[in-house]
């Protein structure tokens, strides 16, 4: 009981501290971009990178290295899930659960699955123009596979194919970075022309990287879900 009240007091203090620090020193809605680095992104972003979506410009171009790190975080986590759950899977050919999904779900999944994949691809291909990008598109693709798992109790992905896909797209990202280094002396340098902002084929290396990220994130999230679902109860 004492421990609980101490913890509650600490949490209350933390809440008050965070809230009042924010409210007093960083008033909500004030324009603080003029003093910092964001000004450059806002005013020069489109010219510098060719991407109309400034968030994409920052994520993939200005701070592209963070994104490489982020992809690595997901990759490490997916590998980690595989390593943690190694040898805990169900025997091959055994069903995941006893009851089959209803006919409606099975038929619906057959129609919707390709559409969901297409939608995911649309999101990451247009990452530099509209909201969305590799991560969001990849998540949609993973959802499509999740749907497949729900509707078909025997379905499971071909691990070798997924691993190979993941490897190839991951290496593409790393290679784009290394090519930038070789061609210009800067890792992840945008060595392709920017094109005219607003068009699909513009923004230099951004579409390449976002396609790679989209496929990779989709494959990795699917891999995580698959690994967890295949664990025997």
């Amino acid at each position: 009981m004492i421990k609980k009240s101490i913890a509650l007091i600490l949490i209350a203090i933390l809440f008050v501290a965070i809230f009042f620090t924010l409210a007093n020193d960083l008033p909500f809605g004030d324009n603080r971009t003029t003093t910092g680095v964001s000004d450059k992104y806002i005013y020069h972003g489109v010219n510098d990178t060719g991407a109309s979506n400034l968030v994409t410009a920052i994520v993939v171009n200005y701070r592209g290295f963070d994104t490489l790190g982020e992809v690595t975080v997901l990759f490490v986590a997916a590998t980690g899930v595989g390593a943690v759950l190694y040898n805990m899977g169900r025997p091959a050919g055994k069903k995941r659960k006893k009851t089959e999904a209803s006919l409606i779900v099975r038929t619906g999944s057959r129609i919707l699955f390709p559409m969901m994949l297409l939608f995911g691809a649309y999101i990451f291909v247009h990452g530099h123009l509209t909201p969305g990008g590799g991560f969001q598109g990849g998540a949609v693709i993973a959802t499509a596979f999740l749907f497949k798992y729900v509707s078909d109790t025997r379905y499971h992905i071909d691990h070798n194919k997924f691993t190979a896909t993941e490897s190839v797209v991951g290496m593409t990202f790393a290679l784009v970075g290394i090519m930038g280094l070789l061609l210009t002396g800067y890792f992840l340098f945008n060595f392709l022309p920017n094109g005219s902002p607003g068009e699909l084929l513009s923004a230099g290396i951004i579409p390449i990287i976002y396609v790679a990220i989209g496929i990779k994130v989709g494959a990795e999230l699917t891999g995580i879900l698959d690994n967890m679902m295949e664990v025997e109860q």
Binding site: E70, G80, M88, M228
Partner: protein, 112 residues
């Protein structure tokens, strides 16, 4: 202002779940609530009164957009959050296999 309140509240309740809940899945839930709170905090830091989304299409001018940098950071953090959640839950599945319980007190000398 109300957003700051919401963010601080989510962070506080996440920490509450982490510190005082015994159930390990509850702890991970607390973790993801806290993550949402931090994300909300960052996004509301970057908001500018009357600003629009930082996508310069259809005649949006640079001077009217909100700060795009925190949004880029949050995008990164969302993905990190789901990675940690997935890994934590897989470890919990394995802990459950050995101890047959989700209660952190019953898992041998698991003190904080």
């Amino acid at each position: 202002m109300i957003y700051y309140m919401a963010a601080a509240f989510l962070i506080a309740i996440g920490i509450y779940a982490l510190m005082l809940k015994k159930n390990m899945i509850k702890m991970v839930i607390g973790l993801s609530l806290m993550d949402s709170g931090v994300n909300l905090l960052l996004i509301s830091l970057g908001y500018i009164n009357g600003g629009t989304a930082p996508i310069l299409l259809n005649g949006v001018k640079p001077q009217e957009v909100v700060d795009p940098l925190p949004q880029a950071l949050v995008l990164t953090n969302v993905v990190i959050g789901v990675s940690v959640t997935a890994l934590a839950l897989s470890v919990i599945i394995r802990v459950y296999k050995h101890y047959k319980t989700l209660n952190s007190d019953k898992v041998r000398d698991m003190k904080w």
